[in-house]
Symmetry: C2
Subunit: 304 residues, 2 copies
């Protein structure tokens, strides 16, 4: 019978949510043990106990990104599933919220209020704008759907997939700069894998129009941080909103704290909510005890 180890800062919350379901055959481990075959947890915590779980068969990640488990030095003799289908709605709210803050000039209007100035200047709109999504997985597809709701034109840059019907035009491989050309907004939701490191390079930033806004809500490794700071300082693009960074928390002396036209959101774009993640685990656990293929399996080579 499956023996489950939960590895999270909210282990008790998860245990409570899962126990409510009276899942068949399930037994619990309070700590890493020889007979644990199932782990549900945060990849950073799982990494350090992998070696102590000889019977490990399945890991359900609480995150979408599983970089800590992709190190080629680590074992890969288990099924790794990640969290999908739970972050898309929150990520859409994040992206649409900051795009509207930009178009609506909400910081400038607050500044006008502070100065008792009746700032009646015209507001911008999302309608008719072109958004480019770097990465169109399950999260990107939800962002594309929201962009369509607000009547934007949607471009997607992916390795090969064309799965979302809300993307108007797909770009792959060498067409990256063509994808970037003429965008009003560039939004990265890329995982951290070899192919995506520093994909938001000096060249890519140079291909963006001067009025464009960058949002990075995927992984910080996708951005060449010094090239971005330079582009912002020189007004090569209009602004950026960054949720993720090469190093988190952002070091106290990092230039991003004070780079002009840059907003930081401290990895809060799509928080992991226990109710949502417990649902993902329970769904996959049901398949596990049936012996059916699990959902959301990660390809260790591909990285997502």
């Amino acid at each position: 019978m499956p023996k489950l180890l939960i590895l999270s800062d909210k282990t008790e919350t998860y245990r409570c949510l899962i126990e409510k379901e009276n899942l068949p055959e399930l037994s619990w481990a309070a700590a890493p043990a020889k007979d644990v075959d199932v782990v549900f947890g945060e990849p950073s915590k799982i990494r350090s106990v992998l070696a102590a779980l000889p019977a490990l068969h399945w890991v359900q990640s609480m995150w979408a990104g599983v970089e800590p488990l992709l190190d080629p030095a680590l074992r890969r003799d288990y099924i790794l599933t990640n969290a999908r289908g739970v972050f898309g709605g929150l990520m859409s709210e994040y992206v649409i919220g900051y795009l509207l803050a930009h178009e609506r000039r909400i910081f400038q209007r607050a500044e006008a209020q502070h100065n008792r100035h009746w700032d009646h200047s015209l507001t911008g709109s999302l309608r008719g704008k072109t958004i480019g999504l770097l990465g169109v997985g399950s999260i990107g597809a939800e962002v594309a759907r929201a962009a369509k709701f607000f009547n934007m034109t949607v471009r997607g840059y992916t390795r090969a997939s064309k799965s979302s019907p809300f993307v108007d035009e797909y770009f792959h491989g060498p067409r990256l700069l063509e994808f970037a050309s003429g965008l009003d907004y560039l939004v990265s939701i890329l995982p951290n894998i070899v192919d995506t490191r520093k994909i938001i390079s000096r060249d890519l930033l140079a291909a963006l129009p001067a009025h464009s806004l960058l949002i990075n809500a995927g992984r910080g490794q996708a951005v060449d941080e010094s090239a971005l700071a330079e582009a912002l300082n020189q007004n090569k693009i209009a602004g950026a909103v960054l949720d993720v960074f090469e190093q988190e928390p952002l070091p106290k002396d990092h230039p991003f704290w004070t780079t002009r036209n840059l907003l930081l959101t401290f990895h809060t774009s799509a928080p992991s909510l226990p109710e949502d993640l417990a649902r993902v685990f329970i769904e996959n656990y049901t398949l596990y005890v049936e012996g059916s293929p699990l959902k959301y399996q990660v390809d260790f080579e591909r990285g997502y």
Copy 2:
């Protein structure tokens, strides 16, 4: 043949947009004249020339709200049509933008950035929240549709109509406080008519939960301004976003400039864009020369 007078700060822009269409029979008046039968303009400008237009037959307002023309002392012997179907999308962006700014704590995160503080506190979401729309005409229906897109529960308070399928529950007449009870967000899109003056009263504000947010993007007269300042200063509600005011521009010494948890947006929520409004005029002009009933007719008694 119809003789058109345009009354706007952007008369040349409108003339250019309309001339492009080569409308049948149309002739132009440069100033008020005895033979002008059609006026397309801003109600505040039209009001002062009404007496100088003996042949007036139809007025197309460039605004949704037509208060300046509703004064019972003014003539009503013409067809008045207002601007509809053009503000809904912009208003939805305004409402969703400020709701997300609130839930995402975007001002607090910017303050954290200023203090080099990694503010990883949990973000809120629109999903599952309850929004109450005061007024569900063509604009309110668009806001309701956007609220549904973000998975909110939508309540509508109207005189009698129940026209939007995106409203989950309608309230009328004496059920105003019941409508307000338990709302996360109260959004007013009401016109300025006798029945709506100071409808956002001390009692209504007292019926709202302490965590609720008020947005007024209709007309300022709907709000009891001193009751609202008091509610905000005493934390009876969490915040307010006001686009409209009893007097505009807001007087320099008005307490709202510095009332806590209050954002001012200076009547920019849904700007009148000439391309959109010219389209409304052209559509109705085509009906006018056919002798067909015009769209968007205002009932002078009802006021909208």
